[in-house]
Every structure is written in structure tokens, then in C-alpha cells.
């Protein structure tokens, strides 16, 4: 188990290293000089040079890359070109919106999908299965940002249960903050729940065909008992994979959804920084998102091992 963990940890570090190189390279080849962008086209040459030096843009690419990476490891994400404030502080503020949103959506998605998938698998081919699967088929096809607009139209504009956008802030109390995240979380969660429910159902159906399920029935377990005691845990392996991937989708999907609801999260930060050519912010936020996804995948790998003893023995 320790060896397995170490091996996954090593591959996590390699992934992070390569990811940071790729992101740095993409930003490097971006056209446009941040210094001249910030000072405008009429800036004097020596003012530009001074600003470049201040931003560290006069150093070689290798130096800048190393400075960026070592800074990040120490929690220093550099200084925003636009606002001259530490990027780390900007990210921290926004993270308090984006991360709760992603987790809220993930929780909703799981809470909807697991029972729906299990229900459909248990009633395979019957009316219950067909209607759940029909609903998921439509759920998969709905773009989440469109769904978000519909939620705003119905629940904010017509029913006035929620505000149409904006974030109440955590200082107004957790409940108000959660309320302003509720519509965005539903918009994010439902299409993902549709996918997850389908995966859950097909994973369970695959397991139901296994020989050991027949052994379980021959022991005297009822269909439902066999499904619960022997089916679920075996079906969790493919489901975990999808859960890990979904987290990545929810973080990314959140960026779009934040646009719909005018939420001050990482997504808006990225868009604002892109339009202001504040590339250091773009670079760091992207890296942070990739970091989150890679760490979640690492956690999923560990969860595999917890579920499946065969993985613990191997490697």
C-alpha cells in the first residue's frame, strides 16, 4: 500500500512538473508585451524597460520559469501586472467562491446520481429504469450555462426565490452565501448527475453479470442484498474514475457558470485577466486548477486501492 502510494505520488509530481512547463510555454508564446500593454502605446522606451525589470520580464525564460515554480511552491504566485497586488491574495479571495461552488455541485450531483443509478439498475428494463434513463439522456444533452439561464428565468426573475446573480459573501453568514451559490450549483450539478447516474447504472449492470453475484444468490441473499453487499463496492471502481473526472469538469464548468451568475470566482478572474493581458494571473490560476485536478486524480487513485485489494497487492 505504501509502495502504491509512493508510486502514485511520484507520477503526481511528474504530471505537475510537465503541466507547469506546458502552461508556462503557452503563456510565453502569447503575443503582446504585458509592459507595453499596461503603459499604453505612447509609453517612453526607458519607462517600459524599467517596468519590464520590475516585473522580471528582462530575465531569461529559464530564470523566469524557475522563479515562477519556486515561488508557487512557497505560496508566492507573483504580483499582478494590472493591480500590483500579490496574485496569491487575489486567488485566495476568489477560491472562496469557486471551491465551495464545485464541492456543492459535486455533492448535489452525487446525491442525485447514486440513488437514480442504483434504482435504474435494480429495475433494469422496467418502467422506472426507462424513465430514469430517458431523463438522463436529456440531462446529458443540456448545456449547463443554458440550464443556468433557465433557472434564473424561472426561480429568480419569475418566482423571485433567489437573486439573479452576484455573491452575498461569507461575511453575511454561511446561509446567505450558500443561497447565492444554490442556483449555480444546481445548474452545474444536474447535467453531471445525468452522466454519473448512467455510469453508476452500467457499472452495476456489469457487476450483476459476474459469477460472484450468482455465488451470493446461491448463499441465500436476496437480489437487493446481493446488490448492496457485493455489487456496489465492485461497481465503485468505474464510478470513482468518473467522479474524479467530474471534479475537473465542475471546476471548469464553474468558470462558465460564474459568467452567467456574475459570481466573483476564479473564472471571472481568468476572463478579466485575459482581457487585461495580466498573464501572470492567468498562468497561476490555470496552474492552480490543474493542480487541483491532478491532486483529485491522486486521491481517486488512493480510493481505488481502498476499494480494490488487488491494486494494493500489485505494484
Amino acid at each position: 500500500m505504501l509502495r502504491y502510494t509512493l508510486k502514485r505520488l511520484a507520477s503526481l509530481l511528474i504530471s505537475l512538473a510537465i503541466a507547469s512547463l506546458v502552461i508556462f510555454a503557452v503563456i510565453e508564446v502569447a503575443p503582446g508585451d504585458p509592459a507595453s500593454f499596461m503603459l499604453g502605446i505612447n509609453a517612453a522606451e526607458d519607462t517600459l524597460a524599467a517596468l519590464r525589470a520590475e516585473l522580471g520580464l528582462d530575465q531569461s525564460k529559464t530564470q523566469r520559469y524557475l522563479a515562477w515554480v519556486t515561488g508557487m511552491v512557497q505560496g508566492d504566485f507573483g504580483t499582478s501586472y494590472q493591480y500590483r497586488t500579490p496574485v496569491a491574495d487575489m486567488i485566495a479571495d476568489r477560491l472562496w467562491v469557486s471551491l465551495p461552488l464545485a464541492l456543492y455541485a459535486l455533492a448535489l450531483s452525487t446525491l442525485i446520481a447514486f440513488p437514480a443509478g442504483i434504482y435504474a439498475a435494480a429495475r433494469r428494463g422496467k418502467a422506472g429504469d426507462i424513465s430514469v434513463m430517458g431523463a438522463t439522456q436529456i440531462g446529458v444533452a443540456i448545456p449547463n450555462f443554458w440550464f443556468a439561464m433557465m433557472l434564473v428565468l424561472i426561480f429568480a426573475i419569475n418566482l423571485r426565490w433567489f437573486s439573479a446573480g452576484g455573491f452575498a459573501g461569507w461575511d453575511k453568514g454561511g446561509l446567505a452565501a450558500m443561497k447565492s451559490l444554490t442556483l449555480p450549483a444546481i445548474a452545474l450539478a444536474l447535467p453531471q448527475a445525468a452522466i454519473l447516474a448512467r455510469v453508476m447504472r452500467s457499472a452495476l449492470l456489469d457487476v450483476l453479470g459476474e459469477d460472484f453475484m450468482r455465488t451470493a444468490r446461491a448463499k441465500g441473499l436476496t437480489r437487493a442484498q446481493a446488490l448492496r453487499r457485493h455489487g456496489l463496492r465492485n461497481a465503485m471502481i468505474p464510478v470513482l474514475t468518473i467522479l474524479g473526472l467530474q471534479f475537473s469538469f465542475l471546476l471548469a464548468g464553474g468558470i462558465i457558470i460564474e459568467q452567467v451568475f456574475y459570481l466573483p470566482g476564479l473564472g471571472r478572474l481568468i476572463f478579466q485577466s485575459i482581457s487585461a493581458r495580466d498573464l501572470i494571473v492567468v498562468e497561476s490560476v490555470t496552474m492552480l486548477l490543474v493542480f487541483a485536478v491532478i491532486v483529485v486524480n491522486f486521491a481517486v487513485d488512493l480510493a481505488y486501492a481502498a476499494v480494490d485489494p488487488r491494486l494494493r497487492a500489485r505494484t
Binding site: S11, S15, I18, A19, I23, V26, I27, V29, A30, P31, Q137, I138, V140, A141, I142, P143, F145, W146, M149, M150, V152, L153, I157, I195, R198, V199, I242, L245, S248, F249, L251, A252, G253, I255, I256, Q259, V260, I270, F271, I274, V282, T286, L289, V290, V293, I294, N297
Partner: protein
């Protein structure tokens, strides 16, 4: 023929026909503004109503289908063109360093939140359909590589492949002659799924202004236009929304129907 196959095929065909017909005929010029006729709800003249510039939304949906299809087709093409050979190569060298490098590379691309990177690419290299295609296409490569390898590996253990090796055939020839035809079904089903995901991704990128640029019409941008007007003209959001949903639904049903019709035991990665 299952119901899913018929319904999915019909919906998909409808979208393709609309896109093709739009080259020769649309009820109105899709860019023609008619301010006095703005924000009309669907009626006899403007079947899907008009937008805030009085443009005919039925015409815009027809022309917008071209964008969606073009982006998705090319993005799937990139995925198939690069992913399938890589997957075949990895399977032929199972356990070797080629396999290891290809699959690690795949994992790495999977680790990137795809939409974030697509946003990054289009933002840095400029918004537009071409960059959107590339951004979406890159993430199709590992999907097809993984599905191809997954389908090919069990085949390599089959005795007819051993027999072909005993007949002196090399890995490349066996891959093309024996492996590829036997995973064609799998790839076709996966392609319909990626196609529908491509349409969704294109809509999302256009919605945030990073996809196809005006005057090229796009369903995603129609939704962006609708956002501030949704309370007074809900049809502006409903029409392109339903266009996307029905197209994606049609493609997904087509994929499911194909899978059931071709081989009910096919395992397809559906993410």
C-alpha cells in the same frame, strides 16, 4: 433497428439537412437586421421569432448548425486521425516504452481541465472557430487513443492475431488488417459521443465569446446575446437552447442505437 437509432438518426439528419440547405436557402438573410421587427416571438413570418436586431432566428439557427457541425467534425477528425494510430501503436507495443509514453501522455492531457485549457488557448491565440476546433480536438486525441488501445489489447491476445503473426505479418499490418476492422464499431460509437461533446464545447466557448466570431453565426453566441434579454424575450434563449439539446440528444441516441445494433457488448468511455 431500435427506436433510439431511428429517433437519433432522424434528429441528427435534420440538423445536417438544415445546415446543408442553409447554403442555398434560408427564409431571410441571416445577417439582415430589421430593427422595427426586433424581439418578435415565433410567428408566421419569423418561425422562430427575431432577436434584438430583428434578425430572423430560424435563419440564424440554420446557418449556426454549419458552425456547430464544422467545429465538431474537424475536432473529432483530429481526435480520430491522431488518437487512433497512437492507440493502435500503444496496443501493439503493450507494456513497452512506446505504450508507456503514449499512455502517460494521455493521462497528462486528461489531467488538464479541458475547458480551462480551451479557454486559455483561444484567449491567448485569439478567439475564433479555428482555435476553438484545435482546443476541442486536442482533448479528443487521448479519448480515441484510450478507446482504441482498450479495444485492441484484448484482440492482441486472441488466437487469430497469433495466427496472423505465425503467418509472418508485422504489427502494423495486423493493426490495419485485423485490429482496426474489429474495433470500427467501437470507434464509430465513440465518435458520435465526441461529436455531441464537441457541439456542447463549441457552444460553451462561443457563449463566453471565444468561439466563432461575428458575423459567423453560432448557437452559443445567440445564447450570449439572449442572456441580458432573457426576462423580456425568453424565446431568444429557448430557441438556440433547444437546437443544442435536440442535436446533442439526437447524436447520443444515435450512438446508443448504433452500439446496441452493432454489438451490445461494446464498452465505450462516456465522459
Amino acid at each position: 433497428m431500435t427506436r433510439a437509432l431511428i429517433l437519433g438518426g432522424a434528429l441528427s439528419a435534420l440538423v445536417v439537412v438544415a445546415a446543408l440547405v442553409s447554403f442555398v436557402w434560408t427564409p431571410f438573410e441571416h445577417t439582415a437586421m430589421d430593427i422595427p421587427a426586433k424581439l418578435q416571438t415565433p410567428n408566421g413570418t419569423h418561425w422562430f421569432g427575431t432577436d434584438h436586431f430583428g434578425r430572423d432566428m430560424f435563419s440564424m439557427i440554420m446557418v449556426g448548425a454549419r458552425t456547430s457541425i464544422a467545429v465538431a467534425v474537424v475536432a473529432v477528425g483530429i481526435g480520430v486521425g491522431l488518437g487512433v494510430p497512437l492507440g493502435l501503436w500503444a496496443a501493439a507495443r503493450q507494456g513497452g516504452w512506446v505504450d508507456e509514453v503514449i499512455m502517460r501522455g494521455n493521462d497528462l492531457i486528461f489531467a488538464f481541465p479541458s475547458l480551462v485549457i480551451a479557454i486559455l488557448i483561444t484567449a491567448i491565440f485569439g478567439a475564433g472557430a479555428v482555435n476553438a476546433i484545435i482546443a476541442i480536438g486536442i482533448f479528443n486525441i487521448p479519448v480515441f487513443a484510450r478507446v482504441t488501445r482498450g479495444g485492441a489489447l484484448p484482440l492482441w491476445a486472441r488466437e487469430f492475431i497469433l495466427a496472423a503473426r505465425v503467418a509472418g505479418k508485422g504489427a502494423a499490418r495486423i493493426s490495419v488488417e485485423h485490429i482496426l476492422p474489429n474495433i470500427a464499431n467501437l470507434l464509430m460509437v465513440q465518435a458520435t459521443i465526441q461529436f455531441s461533446l464537441g457541439i456542447l464545447a463549441e457552444a460553451a466557448l462561443s457563449y463566453v465569446g471565444l468561439g466563432a466570431q461575428p458575423p459567423t453565426p453560432s448557437w452559443g453566441r445567440m445564447l450570449a446575446d439572449a442572456q441580458t434579454l432573457v426576462s423580456i424575450a425568453p424565446h431568444m434563449a429557448l430557441v438556440p437552447g433547444f437546437a443544442i439539446i435536440l442535436t446533442v440528444l439526437g447524436l447520443n441516441l444515435l450512438g446508443d442505437g448504433l452500439r446496441d445494433a452493432l454489438d451490445p457488448r461494446l464498452r465505450v468511455a462516456r465522459v
